[in-house]
Symmetry: C2
Subunit: 199 residues, 2 copies
DNA sequence: AAGTAAATGTACCGATCTGTAAACTTTAGT
DNA sequence: ACTAAAGTTTACAGATCGGTACATTTACTT
């Protein structure tokens, strides 16, 4: 019902964790940054890990919603949507708050395979993967649909390019990571006999 | 010059930081795991961050030496060496100690742009990049050498594939990340008119 | 106006954090 | 055998860690 405190906490905690790291951020810092008392926090979440899980759930929802909404704003034909993915990636990189992928970072700090935080990071990537696969499967060529094994291989390769771009951008290795990835994607489509796009 | 304590410390600290994270690992845990007294540690390194920097220097040296030695053991012709990169990547992934890329993880925990740890992570990736570029530049096609702008684009794209594969493998999203990346690399080479290999 | 649920401040727990001080023992080279 | 460096143990400082107890205040419902 309330729009309030709990959501407010999760939203603010997201920013702090994102900029500052999970382990490195103490609950006392969250108190200072959010103005919410520690007692209230522990009423809403039994442990710090529970709060982190809630933050990751919010992030997953926000990011996927925004990402694919933008993709569909930028293009309508599936083949163009696939390439638009990399333009949206670039938009993300250019946001001033960009600090890499929160799930890559979380899974680095909580890398134990049976940690629920780790599992949730894996889940997020799998959801990204399956959304991308949908776009690839929807592509139609002159000979009809793409064989599903080809589509799956392409979707996987696009994921590789996206994650690589995210990492190299965040590490300050490449400024043009997203556009380089896009060019690679074009090559990969062409290599599989797909070229019904004009950009 | 003894072979001793200092190097021993850095080597053991590497393992602990790699498995356990940097912020999450306290100096007391290092004492327990290495058997070296805290006083000795602080004789060798003024701060924990200095120790981390030494660990990263060792890791950079170890990893790059091992990686490109293996590449050159697996193949002699540049075109084949480029593809062997992804086989070596796979070997790395299958090592039981594999826990992702230490530099990606370090730069996630120390993401402030002016942090020397962050800079050192960036540096490592740039060194990887330039080694890969060397292999690509050495490729000879029927029409002679590859234009340097094409080689640079390819090297960048191979980096994207490698980092993406490392992340997706570490996050448990894909088991075949390195081989998927290799197939993508083949496509990218073909897309640029390069196909003088037989695998 | 009374009742109730939510949020608050403050003070605290025991453990752990990075880093230091001082005194003692081992080791290596002359 | 003497010295000096390198290593050790033990104890500690001061801050911060995740998490809790308790008493109080706010704000909405009836």
């Amino acid at each position: 019902m309330r729009p309030s405190k709990r959501d407010e906490l999760v939203q603010e905690a997201l920013k702090v964790f994102y900029q500052n790291g999970f382990t490195a951020t103490g609950m006392d810092l969250l108190v200072k940054k959010t103005g919410i008392s520690k007692t209230s926090m522990y009423k809403h979440f039994r442990t710090k890990d529970d709060l982190i899980l809630a933050v990751l759930r919010l992030r997953d929802e926000q990011l996927r919603n925004w990402f694919f909404r933008r993709v569909e704003e930028l293009a309508t034909r599936p083949i163009e949507q696939v390439l638009a993915i990399f333009d949206v990636l670039d938009e993300w990189f250019e946001q001033p708050e960009f600090q890499g992928c929160m799930f890559i970072k979380a899974s680095s700090e909580f890398q134990c395979a049976d940690d629920p935080i780790y599992s949730q990071c894996t889940e997020h990537k799998k959801l990204m993967h399956s959304s991308i696969l949908k776009y690839v499967l929807a592509i139609e060529t002159d000979e009809g649909e793409i064989p599903s094994d080809v589509a799956e291989k392409l979707a996987e390769q696009f994921m590789l390019l996206m994650e690589g771009a995210t990492v190299l951008k965040h590490m300050g290795v490449s400024n043009s990571a997203a556009q380089d990835a896009k060019l690679a994607a074009v090559s990969l489509l062409q290599g599989n006999g797909i070229c019904g796009y004009d950009a």
